[in-house]
Symmetry: C2
Subunit: 376 residues, 2 copies
DNA sequence: ATGAAAGCGCTAACAC
DNA sequence: GTGTTAGCGCTTTCAT
């Protein structure tokens, strides 16, 4: 016995030792009661449980994890995706000023993934640890998460791939929505959506079904493989229809927010030459911003200009006209991520080693009012 | 030195010992490099960091937590709130069959709270561990979460209060949306919303502003303080207007789902006597279900019957007619929960002890089409 | 500025 | 079925 406390010590949080002592068994038995109840005589078990209850004993997850080398927790790291504009509108809504862009309207990317992962994790008996990147921590976010989970998913561009590279030697990591970045020195599993396919199909729809030919594409200034893939799809559809397009989007914005989208629309409309028949945005938030601009300038959507987004966030259905967009199966992505992690974990437990997996989830075009498919 | 491995051992995940050995310092120094970088000479620090990097070293959260008695993680336990109906509709949407009740439409209660907590937690440098109750685990959900976090929030009715009672002696716990259950032996902090106020105000609106007097209220069969409070508000408003009401809701359903709401509407309409002018439901999902029923039976909302919900979930805005409801500030609740936990934690660190806090967040009535406030 | 050593609370052989 | 005994990988005085 390593330690003994008075019979009525209450100050510290109770441990196995306290429970063991008070119930007249060894710490091993206390441990068994929790880990493998059937291996303990019923009577003993009840006694231990009773003592535990009245002592307020809760097994320390840390100690457990340390001793058993596993935590029963999966993780998710995501970037601080918050759109300042969406935020403020949401705040206003919550404050009761308006009904406009509701609190709940702003359910973003990461929320969906969280939902998907949580569900799947629960099915497999795991809990989920979530953490958004916070700039300037001494220890990087991943390290913190990585150290507390059995495996985790990372939304692309949250963390330098190099760092993940290192960590993935230690535990399963799946990269979400990202690029399959590095070439070969890459142990990471990877799930992405068919960005190019989606944008291509949407563009084709605009061209063939609505007969539009003067299109303008708004992309992202930063390097982002997903966004680039979308643009690629756009270009392919245009070329296929014999419409000439440059190698670059008509405009690249610094942030993919509503404000930037609104500004982009201004810029595009103020450009000399014929007005575009359709404005295609690399995400929904920008498209929503553009809707504001067009409304303010007295242009009707879709009669005067069609507008499309990408992502299929909830907000895209709430705006008027409802936004035609490409829906990403983000929830499913979360679920698949967990399935992958769980499989990896059991592989490792059995000493198996399989090659990294890379899967692509299909997307679907949501034809709504902003392209002219439904009454505005 | 407790352990030594060959210079090129790669099999196991590296620890402080490995890093220390390879960089010619003690494990204490390695630890300092991460915990308190400035206390280590720059040159030493760089060397250690370099070795760590190429070894793929990540500090074990478990070991850290065990040694330092804190995890840097806050938790949230919530019940498996999933509405089977909403689920299936969502699945259909995700599968691409329809645009109807979108995946994202189904953003529920818990999602909002998660969002709020995550944001606030991040601000304070914490990560968030989330876990929904899974029936029939050997160890209860809470115990698992409790053992891995510094403090946590629990959605009411997820866990027996008694169990929380015990745990709260050990770490801060805040009860969400619940009742202030026990009487005095209660150390738990507690955040609720003004259920009665909201329902009273909504009811008053129906009576005074729309001149309705034949109302029917649909409640919940299970014991639920929140839902009871809503009913209480309803009763108060009726009495204040001189409308007679019984001590019981006109109907109590077994589950607060869309299907049950639809059934409840049937039942109410089939009742002998004059048809009610308004159907008030204890939550949005039931109200949405009722909308289906009324539509199928050819009754117009709000002309023939007004319908109201409670909660303000995203779906409430998407249905036609949009649902008049009482919006709960669920996101804010999550934020407040974290603030409370963080405060408690710092109190404990300083040896302070304060009385349990109980706060009530205000709600607001969202007047939409289903009560006649806007064009349907 | 750095090292030595004592735990943190639990699990997992291995004995009995 | 139950007890003994090593660790698990880190933080943290206390020395130096």
């Amino acid at each position: 016995m390593r330690r003994t406390r008075g019979p009525h010590s209450v100050s510290t949080t109770p441990t196995v030792y306290d429970v063991a002592e008070r119930s007249g068994v060894s710490i091993a038995t206390v441990s068994r009661v929790y880990r493998n109840p059937d291996s303990v005589r019923a009577q003993t078990r009840e006694r231990v449980l009773a003592v535990a209850r009245d002592l307020g004993y809760v097994p320390s997850g840390n100690a457990r994890g340390l001793a058993s080398r596993s935590t029963g927790v999966l993780g998710l790291c995501f970037p601080d995706y918050s759109d300042p504009d969406a935020e403020s509108e949401a705040e206003a809504g919550a404050g009761g000023h308006g009904d406009e862009a509701d609190d709940e309207a702003a359910m973003l990317y990461s929320d969906q993934i969280i939902r998907g992962m949580e569900r799947a994790a629960r099915r497999h008996g795991y809990a989920l640890l979530i953490a958004a990147s916070l700039k300037g921590g001494p220890e990087s976010l991943v390290a913190k998460v990585a150290g507390r989970v059995d495996g985790f998913a990372v939304l692309a561009r949250t963390v330098p791939t190099e760092e993940l590279e290192v960590i993935s030697r230690r535990q399963p990591v799946v990269m979400l929505a990202g690029p399959r970045e590095s070439n070969d020195l890459d142990h990471l599993d990877h799930i992405e959506v068919a960005n190019a396919d989606g944008q291509r199909e949407l563009t084709r729809h605009l061209i063939e079904d609505h007969g539009l030919r003067r299109l303008a594409y708004v992309g992202f200034a930063e390097e982002s493989p997903d966004v680039e893939a979308r643009f690629r799809g756009y270009v392919e559809a245009c070329r296929a229809a014999g419409i000439e397009v440059g190698a670059e989007p008509d405009l690249r914005v610094a942030m993919m927010t509503q404000a930037e989208g609104a500004r982009a629309a201004e810029a595009l409309l103020d450009r000399p030459g014929e007005r575009p028949e359709a404005l295609l945005f690399a995400n929904d938030q920008m498209a929503v911003g553009a809707l504001h601009t067009l409304d303010r300038r007295g242009l009707r959507v879709p009669q005067d200009v069609a507008v499309t987004g990408f992502d299929g966030i909830a907000l895209s259905r709430l705006v008027r006209p409802a936004l035609t967009t490409v829906r990403q199966p983000m929830r499913r992505m979360g679920e698949e991520a967990v399935e992958l992690l769980v499989r990896r974990l059991s592989d490792r437990a059995q000493g198996k080693t399989e090659d990294p997996v890379s899967m692509t989830l299909p997307v679907s075009v949501a034809r709504r009012a902003s392209c002219g498919c439904r009454a505005a």
